[in-house]
Amino acid sequence: MTKIALNLITGRTIQQGVAMEGGKEKDAYTKACGIIELDLSDLKKLGAWRNTNVRVTSPYGSIVVKAVEATQGPHPGLAYIPMGPWANSVTDPNTYSTGMPTFKGVPIEVEVAMNEKVLGSIELVQKKCRGEV
């Protein structure tokens, strides 16, 4: 099973903004934010097709999202998950005593997770809090 190591950044996208205002309990939000944008070269390294589910793991957690081709690339070695509960399942909580977690620049490993499901935001957060995922 190939695993590739990447540097993760998270942030806004217009789709994330629209879907968030449309309702975080809706599927559109999962479609907009339950993804990871990968550079084409990294998709190749991973040996994954576009739009396959992958498991993203960092020292701080793990999450299943859908791998898509980066729209604002090229950025080989860099991965992007729109801000939201999926991204924050793996972001670095270290604030360096500034109050600000490290949402950008998180070391992650990505592997194909064909048969695993991308959870909706509500279910995801509730299960994480109950320790079920």
């Binding site: 629209v18 975080k24 801000m83 509960p85 977690p101 995801l124």
Partner: protein, 438 residues
């Protein structure tokens, strides 16, 4: 017949566009259409209309499901929770009016709470930097009228502040900039070739996490000192070229965002960017501005400022106001287990805090005040739906350049739904009674 409400303020981002026109049915009950708004703003107005909108408070049951309760019960639970805590955290405040924030602060003062707003995960590092080195800035109209050098550093307005470039920065024709885009040079610094970067004259694809080094390099270049061959993945020739472009303008502006506030070095990135701006004022006129996120996070910082003296992370537990991000900041408080209950208004930490902090929230007595269903509302003990500020109730809001604009009421909230201010006032009254009794 429908009617048009003009000069409507958009309650989404810190750009705080105030030129929206909203078409409402003549009974004034429903929004028919929105003009001039970006896709996100339009969606926010439309979602207020959603048929499945929650209109009554809901209490979490032992099995995790939610049961509808009355606003009276919601007020009682909230007041009891706050009055019985040793150190409650009152977080959010960025998606509500300054008037509601003021009432919240009265509650916080009574119960010795910590008041923190969404800057804590957004531009908090900027606020720290400003406290260390100040900030030479200006209003957005100054940029429209004068700026011929526009720098976007670690921000992507095309996605996060969709109308920013057309209203204020890249495109508008102003008094001294009547050629609009043609009279400006645009630099973008970002580790990705973002849609904003695609519009730039120069794009510096900085090595992620090395903004501090690159900013220092620009300061070295501005002073015509020696540089190593490459800094943060950028050849020194490119850096000298950029420095010259900045110095050669008549009026320059640096806009910056999460790319620098949330990456390694955090406040130091902003600190160095501000210092670069200050340096450039030895050669020409230069300003710098934070691309603030929530439409009234700036207002929260202002009201906290004039009432307590600090823009966020305000600790009232000792009876007077104290401040120190790293200690009195939401994520550090949750991480360290320093608070014993959490009250959230107008924000969604459930979606936007690291999961380790979210787990702590789920363990604590918690109240979430929000018109939407959110991950936060669905892990809180109590969810209280309220009217949308800027759509169903007005109030004072502050734009990213600190310009105050009065948000408008466009339509009525659903039958019986309280506004933030109404709910908070009732909690405040109840808290006073409970604290008297103690």
């Amino acid at each position: 017949m429908t009617k048009i409400v003009p000069d409507v303020i958009c309650p989404f981002c810190g750009t705080l566009c105030d030129d929206l026109e909203v078409e409402v049915s003549d009974d004034g009950k429903t929004i028919v259409d929105i003009y001039n708004a970006c896709a996100i703003g339009a969606e926010k107005f439309m979602h207020a209309q959603a048929k499945d909108r929650v209109t009554r408070p809901r209490m979490q049951q032992p099995d995790g499901t939610y049961k509808e309760v009355s606003y009276d019960e919601a007020v009682e639970y909230t007041a009891q929770m706050l009055a019985n805590s040793k150190k409650p955290l009152m977080y959010g405040w960025s998606s509500t009016s300054c008037e509601a924030q003021s009432v919240g602060h009265e509650i916080a003062e009574q119960v010795g709470a910590i008041v923190d707003n969404t800057a804590t995960v957004c531009h908090g590092s900027t606020l720290i930097a400003v406290q260390d080195v100040g900030i030479p800035s200006c209003t957005l109209g100054e940029i429209k009228n004068r700026a011929d050098r526009i720098i976007f550093w670690g921000c992507n307005p095309t996605h996060a502040h969709p109308r920013h470039q057309s209203r204020y920065s890249i495109f508008p024709r102003g008094f001294f900039t009547n050629k609009g885009h043609k009279s400006r040079k645009v630099i973008v610094v970002d580790p990705r070739k973002t849609d904003t970067a695609k519009m730039a004259d120069i794009h510096y694809q900085v090595e992620q996490g090395r903004d501090f080094e690159l900013l220092s390099a620009f300061r070295v270049a501005v002073r015509n000192e020696e540089l190593p061959d490459t800094v943060a993945g950028i050849p020194k020739e490119e850096i000298y070229k950029g420095a010259e472009l900045m110095k050669s303008g008549r009026f320059g502006i640096i806009f910056f965002g999460m790319g620098v506030t949330q990456s390694l070095s955090k406040n130091h990135n902003i600190d160095n960017a501000i210092s670069l701006t200050k340096d450039l004022n030895e050669y020409t006129k230069f300003s710098i501005m934070a691309m603030r996120g929530h439409y009234n996070v700036t207002g929260s910082g202002q009201v906290l400022g004039w009432q307590f003296g600090f823009p966020y992370c305000v600790d009232l537990s000792r009876g007077f106001a104290r401040y120190n991000p790293g200690e009195t900041s939401s994520n550090d408080l949750l991480r360290r287990g320093e608070v014993d209950s959490i009250f959230v208004l107008g924000s969604d930490p459930g979606a936007h805090f690291p999961i380790s902090s979210v787990k702590k929230i789920a363990e604590l007595p918690s109240v979430c005040i929000d018109p939407h269903i959110t991950p936060t509302s669905e892990i809180s003990k109590l969810h209280v739906p309220v009217a949308f500020v800027g759509i169903e109730v007005g109030g004072s809001c502050y734009r990213m350049d600190n310009v105050p604009i009065d948000a408008r009421k466009v339509i009525d909230p659903p039958e019986g739904v309280l506004t933030d201010e109404e709910f908070l006032s009732r909690v405040n009254k109840r808290v006073s009674e409970l604290m008297e009794a103690k």
